[in-house]
Amino acid sequence: MEALDGNSIGGALLEYFGREMTTATGSCRHCGAAWQIAELMVYSRAPGAVVRCPSCGSVVIVLVEVRGSTQVHLDDFALDQSEAV
């Protein structure tokens, strides 16, 4: 399965966070590599998506759609302080 990139989850993140998130910066909690969300690898698995670190391949974000609303599990992607939500 080919990966998309973080641009493709921009709408879901905008809905969830209420602001543009594809340019938000942070780092992988597994390997420490720093990324903008748009640069992450996205594997769509309806109804949701798994987002992986391009450096180490670890899952850093999971999106799950439940009854028409998106839940975002961002535990393994450490958003930079200025991006905190």
Binding site: E2, G10, E15, G18, T22, E39, H73, L74
Partner: protein
């Protein structure tokens, strides 16, 4: 730990279809009038949602083809025969219909004058769509930076915006190199074959000129082009990519 979902703050809105334009045999531009549109930046996309009579919903992302300065919002959609959304958009939609969308979305794959140049745009197939927005926006603000476009298509018949691109090139807005990967006319003077390091070396600005590079197309195309750029010495932080998948 799960966060509680917040009520949707990016609202879906209905846009009226004003006009449909044939671009190629499988590609149409959908001209829209979204009454609540707040404006957008060149390179952004929207999500489009279709709802079946039984309530089943399918949603896809489409790049915005119009410049912020244009009167209408334009999406350009390629029909994928096994797609859930694009066959409806390309074959069934008619003027006067309403389409549900949300956006604009994205801040990464965006070009504005303040980002400067020179600008290198690399498109594979319908990856040209956000670049139409960027080129039209560049023209609207007086073509402040030099722009080169490298556009890869399977055949000449599949080149989207062909006449408009000729016009933009004639106006000095952009220098364009085409490469055709499957079939080409006997008298074809453009490039042949997939984008590789040699072609990029010939077409791209030198890495020392620090071009800002945007690459858009199918995942495999974007991956190959971005890797070749890096191998040619372009800085990864000057390369922005947007991939689209086969499921649209």
């Amino acid at each position: 730990m799960a966060r509680a979902a917040l009520p949707g703050r990016l609202n879906w809105q209905l846009a009226t279809v004003v006009e449909l334009r044939d671009e190629t045999a499988s590609v149409k531009s959908i001209v829209l009038d979204p009454p609540q549109w707040q404006g957008h930046r060149a390179g952004q996309h929207v999500d489009v949602r279709l709802t079946a009579p039984d309530g089943y919903q399918a949603q896809r992302s489409y790049s915005i083809a119009s410049a912020p300065e244009d009167e209408h919002l334009v999406l350009t959609v390629e029909r994928l025969d096994d797609g859930e959304v694009s066959p409806y958009l390309v074959d069934e939609l008619t003027p006067g219909d309403e389409l549900e969308l949300r956006g604009p979305i994205g801040g990464y794959f965006v070009w504005e004058q303040s980002q400067g140049g020179p600008l290198l745009l690399i498109a594979g197939g319908s990856g040209i769509v956000p670049f139409r927005a960027i080129l039209r926006h560049g023209t609207a603000v007086g073509n402040p930076v030099a722009v080169r476009l490298l556009y890869s298509s399977r055949s000449l018949d599949e080149v989207i915006y062909r006449e408009e691109l000729i016009g933009l090139e004639d106006d000095g807005a952009v220098e364009i190199d085409y490469t055709l990967t499957r079939v080409w006319p006997d008298d074809w003077h453009g490039h042949r074959g997939r984008i590789d390091r040699e072609l990029l070396e010939e077409v791209a600005w030198e890495p020392s000129e620090q071009p800002l590079v945007f690459v858009c197309g199918p995942s495999g195309f974007v991956e190959a082009a971005a890797q070749a750029l890096v191998e040619n010495g372009h800085a990864t932080k000057r390369i922005r990519t947007e991939r689209f998948g086969p499921t649209s």
